[in-house]
């Protein structure tokens, strides 16, 4: 049985000599990359043009190679990252950060051509990551559904929110 299966394997492997190859001759021939391809990471903006990242640290926490570092800014009010750094020389493009991101700020793009001669050139700061558009998620604006009052949105003005309760009202 073992001999038969080994011979069979040999035969089938040999037959692959006559199969079509799957190789794509990359630099001359560009492969098709789907929009959900996991390449270079970007930070997007919400439909109002504001930074989407609220520096919740979930991307950093979930990153298996620990290559995301950010710090919430010390300014009260909006949560925005003071710095946002991705060390692409460590990134494994697993996409877990995108999956963890509650605001759709961090997204992976189909761009993977980002080689550099120096490793230090692969350290991307916020200004390198931030784009002007909304990326793959055109409509979502986290602060419109969150309960905190920021960006000129007062309490009770978010989606599906009642106006603030009057704690001194005695009406039933």
């Amino acid at each position: 049985m073992y001999i038969y299966s080994s011979l069979r394997t040999l035969w089938f492997t040999f037959l692959h000599l006559f199969h079509k190859t799957e190789t794509i001759q990359y630099p001359e021939q560009k492969p098709y990359l789907s929009p959900r391809f996991r390449g270079r990471i970007i930070l997007t903006r919400d439909p109002d043009g504001e930074e989407r990242c609220v520096s919740c640290y979930l991307c950093a926490a979930v990153c298996p190679s620990d290559c995301i570092s950010l710090q919430k800014s010390s300014i009260e009010g909006d949560w925005t990252p003071e710095h946002f750094r991705i060390n692409f020389s460590r990134c494994i493009f697993c996409g877990l950060c995108e999956e963890a991101c509650p605001t759709s700020a961090i997204q992976l793009t189909p761009d993977f051509e980002m080689s550099e001669y120096r490793r230090s050139d692969l350290v991307y700061e916020k200004e390198h990551l931030l784009i002007s558009g909304t990326g793959k998620v055109p409509d979502y604006n986290f602060y419109r559904v969150a309960g905190v009052s920021v960006r000129g949105k007062a309490k009770g003005e978010a989606l599906n929110e009642a106006p603030p309760v009057d704690a001194r009202g005695l009406m039933p």
């Binding site: 919740c56 640290y57 570092s69 020389s89 350290v123 969150a146 929110e161 009642a162 009057d166 039933p172």
Partner: protein, 893 residues
């Protein structure tokens, strides 16, 4: 022990708990919100539902709230039963119906009890699609950020703030579903325990405001076991650090000391380590900065001179003080504290060494059933102790509940039942204290009158105690009443502190304890020492400062001052003169002070957060703190700097120094048992100090150097500075961060306790020193030195916020500091023709303070209470006579 059957598993639990507590103690997790081990149960959140069966045959059972259920022998309980599990899930769903979609922008996210409970119940998807209720927030001051939308209405905050901590400026408003937890009007929360709301709130309504500015998730910070350095209680804290910056201070449970709570001074006061006052580089007077090796060479030159005088510090570690004491010689080592404090600490050290006297731990204080406070306001000098005293104040309430067979965890019933019961405290102090509402007797008396009364009480309890000469205005009946109250108790407690400025207060208190013990009582003493390591310094021993100024007057001695701002303690003209006469003045400190400004040579040393060492708290408990902050260019701990400069080979390591110290200093034999040796390993590996999920390791420094740096090393601590190492509780290892699977919030401390609300399973921290002197029974002589009548007596008031040196340098505390003022009663004011709000010069012993006058009718006649201890204020070490002067027009202009 009571036997329970929880989901078929037979367990034995302590009897006097509720079912929820009992289940948690045997690792049977029931979700809960409103119950808290320190606050008891009220049954308001309906989250802890379980099914209880009547007997073995009962298949139906009934759903009850486990926190409101008494234990019954052989009780059969089901947590996992389908219907009750579904009920718990639906409760979480309803709780979350109005909860905002905030977790990413909530500081509590990731350490949120509500998140944990939602996961525990299995609730995962929102079905409620209608409008969410919203609330406006209030500005609650520099410590706490308010985000009322997140409230789930568990009432824990008001129960802690009002019932437990005695605050009255915070409460619950509104009706039906629209309740609102906040203040009547915006403003800083007044209670010095408001910071605990952050840990009490099961979700993110109350958030640590300074922390929010340098925010990091819980898993992103290295936790280090430390001891709070802002008073002598020695609360255990965890310092959470990241990237060389102290991010926040959280409570580290220690059953014998701080339990679940910290005061705001400890929680928000540690930022002095990274303020503009932090001393970063060495310098010579009048010259620019010195390089590190130059500074060390200069120090070595100083230490090589013959006429050395060492001045220790009550805020430096035992190790640093001992190093200085060894280098200058014990006969040339002075404690660096004012003589009144010296005398009191001398007595206190003897009491701690005595085998007969029991000095109360904070836990003991909490359990006292009758308390006499002599001349002290603990809520200013030892806030955490005051919180414990407040719990002792309800001893009567508890006694009444016991009489009526109400379990003590039945919080509302106990309180309702005992609402008429007077407090168990007796307070003799010049000014009103925060604890007055739990006292059945408050006497507003001068310190000398308080001491006289204390001496009389001792004599009234045991006639063998030394009598006290009569003083005008003391009613013998009142004294007897107080003596009777102490005698009626099982565990009476006498509290005394340094505010009296007279060691006789402590002697009189010790006499009361002795008298009570002779009457068969389990009496205890609590002495409120002035600073974090004051008792350690006293146990180490050294000369008094007035003796120090004599050799200085003889001239040309070289002074080495260790982490001590002498200008806070001694009259400035005296110091200026002494420093001028001295051969040289060398100051080692971690902050810029008036003393460093006067020094010839200044060297930066590591603060408590940046070094390892031992401090001894007021009850003589030696506790180890570990290095929490690792800077790029670290300052060395003072002992190491001194060792290297004096070229002493005996102490290659911290442990070696501690061994030498325990062999040399009488009374410190047991300090070798304190803390962990640097060589300590668990199965060959170091305990880790970062959580498993510490993030950003390969990116955090990538903008400087794309190559990753090795984590910092600490040769004096066994803890690995990274996440690599042993995770989990181990005997004797202080917990770097409380976390347990499924319990991300601070409630995970449950998983580390031997019983819920009891001691830690792997041992509470600290080793109690003293207790070795056998022949120390007997009474102390007490002499009363009456204050001069009709002369103004200035009494210092050290406010919680600003009255302590280091915390006053922390920005959040600074924001809470009031304008220093002087208060007196209306009669005294009228006598001196002072009106409320007038700015006057208060003059004493060459020091002149220009203060705003306030009227406080609680104060006795001729007593002026002066807010002291603020940075830059002249020292006011104890009650002194003084006078008040109107500001002349010229001086005004």
């Amino acid at each position: 022990m009571v036997k329970l059957i929880i989901d078929g598993r037979a367990v034995e639990v302590q009897p006097d708990q509720n079912l929820l507590q009992a289940s948690l103690s045997v690792n049977a997790d029931i979700p809960y919100f409103c119950w808290h081990p320190a606050l008891g149960a009220v049954g308001s959140c309906r989250q802890c539902a379980v099914r209880v069966y009547r007997d073995d045959d009962d298949q139906v059972g009934q759903i009850v709230m486990s926190c409101m259920t008494k234990l019954r022998e052989g009780m059969r309980v089901s947590i996992a039963e389908r219907e009750v599990a579904a009920l718990r899930e639906s409760v979480v769903e309803m709780v979350l119906a109005n909860h905002p979609h905030d977790c990413p922008v909530c500081e509590v996210g990731g350490e949120c009890h509500l998140q944990d409970m939602a996961v525990m119940t299995g609730h995962s998807g929102r079905r409620y699609e209608f409008q969410k209720r919203t609330h406006l927030n209030q500005n609650l001051g520099p410590f706490i950020k308010h985000e009322m939308n997140r409230c789930i209405g568990c009432y824990r905050c008001v129960r802690f703030y009002r019932d437990y901590a005695g605050g009255d400026d915070f409460g619950v408003f509104g009706s039906r579903a629209n309740i609102y937890f906040g203040r009547a009007s915006e403003g800083a929360l007044e209670s010095p325990f408001a910071g605990n709301l952050v840990e009490i709130c099961p979700t993110g309504v109350f958030v640590d405001k300074p922390f929010s500015k340098k925010f990091r998730r819980k898993w992103d910070m290295r936790g280090t076991a430390s001891v709070c350095g802002h008073c002598a209680v020695g609360c255990n804290v965890t310092l959470q650090e990241r990237e060389g910056e102290l991010r926040r201070v959280v409570n580290r449970y220690n059953d014998a000391v701080n339990g679940y709570f910290l005061c705001d001074r400890g929680r928000f006061g540690a930022d002095y380590v990274q303020s503009e006052h932090t001393l970063r580089s060495a310098r010579l007077a009048g010259s620019a900065e010195l390089a590190v090796n130059e500074a060390r060479a200069a120090l070595a030159r100083v230490l090589a001179t013959p006429d050395l005088i060492g001045i220790g510090s009550p805020r430096a570690s035992l190790e640093s003080n001992f190093a200085l004491r060894t280098i200058v010689g014990p006969e040339n080592f002075y404690l660096g504290i004012h003589d009144t404090a010296y005398d009191m600490l001398d007595v206190a050290a003897r009491l701690i060494r005595s085998a007969r006297m029991t000095v109360a731990s904070v836990r003991d204080v909490e359990q006292a059933d009758s308390v006499l406070i002599i001349g002290e306001d603990p809520s200013e000098t030892a806030p955490r102790l005051a919180l414990a005293l407040r719990q002792a104040g309800s001893a009567g309430v508890h006694a009444r509940a016991n009489r009526n067979a109400i379990p003590l965890w039945q919080d509302i019933s106990v309180r309702d039942n005992g609402c008429e019961t007077p407090g168990a405290l007796m307070i003799m102090s010049p000014a009103a204290t925060e604890l007055d509402d739990v006292a059945w007797l408050t006497l507003r008396v001068r310190p000398d009158e308080a001491i006289a009364r204390a001496a009389m009480i001792a004599h009234a309890i045991d006639p063998q105690a030394p009598p006290c000469a009569d003083m005008p205005g003391i009613m013998p009946m009142q004294v007897e009443q107080m003596a009777a109250a102490l005698l009626a108790a099982e565990r009476p407690l006498i509290v005394v502190g340094c505010m009296t400025g007279d060691a006789d207060a402590l002697r009189a208190a010790a006499n009361i304890v002795e008298a009570l013990m002779r009457r068969g009582k389990q009496a205890r003493l609590s002495f409120i020492a002035p600073e974090v390591n004051a008792v350690g310094l006293a146990l180490l021993g050294g000369g008094r400062m007035s003796a120090c100024f004599e050799p200085l007057a003889a001239g040309s001695a070289n002074i080495v001052v260790l982490e001590n701002d002498l200008y806070r303690r001694f009259p400035h003209d005296l110091l200026d003169r002494a420093f001028k006469q001295a051969g040289s003045v060398t100051v080692l400190d971690h902050i810029e002070t008036q003393t460093t400004a006067q020094a010839g040579l200044v060297l930066p040393v590591a603060s408590m957060a940046e070094s390892d060492g031992i401090v001894v708290n007021q009850e003589g408990r030696a506790q180890r703190f570990y290095k929490a902050i690792f800077r790029q260019t670290p300052s060395l701990p003072a002992w190491q700097l001194l060792r290297d400069a004096a070229n002493i080979g005996d102490w290659p390591t911290l442990s070696a120094l501690v061994r030498v110290m325990s062999g040399t200093v009488e009374g410190l034999e047991h300090i070798v048992e304190v803390g962990l040796d640097a060589a300590f390993r668990i199965e060959g590996i170091q305990p880790a100090s970062q959580p498993h999920r510490y993030s950003g390791r390969t990116a955090v420094n990538a903008h400087h150097d794309v190559q990753e740096q090795a984590p910092p090393s600490n040769e004096y601590s066994p803890f690995a500075t990274s996440m690599e190492g042993y995770h989990g509780a181990q005997a004797g290892v202080p917990v770097p961060f409380f976390w347990s699977p499924g319990w991300n919030s601070v409630q995970s401390v449950n998983k580390f306790q031997s019983e819920i609300g009891g001691s830690l399973r792997h041992g509470d921290e600290g080793v109690k020193l003293g207790g070795q002197d056998q022949d120390s029974s007997g009474y102390w002589p007490v002499t009363i030195s009456p204050a001069e009548p009709a002369v103004l007596l200035f009494i210092p008031c050290l406010p919680v916020f600003g009255g302590e040196e280091l915390s006053a340098l922390s920005p959040a505390i600074e924001a809470r500091m009031a304008v220093p003022s002087a208060s007196m009663n209306i009669h005294t004011a009228a006598l001196h023709q002072i009106t409320e709000g007038a700015t006057m010069d208060y003059v004493t012993q060459g020091a002149c303070m220009r203060l705003v006058t306030e009227i406080d009718d609680h104060l006795p006649d001729h007593v002026v209470q002066i807010v002291a201890g603020y940075p830059g204020q002249p020292p006011l070490p104890g009650p002194v006579h003084g006078q008040v002067r109107h500001i002349t027009a010229r001086a005004d202009g």
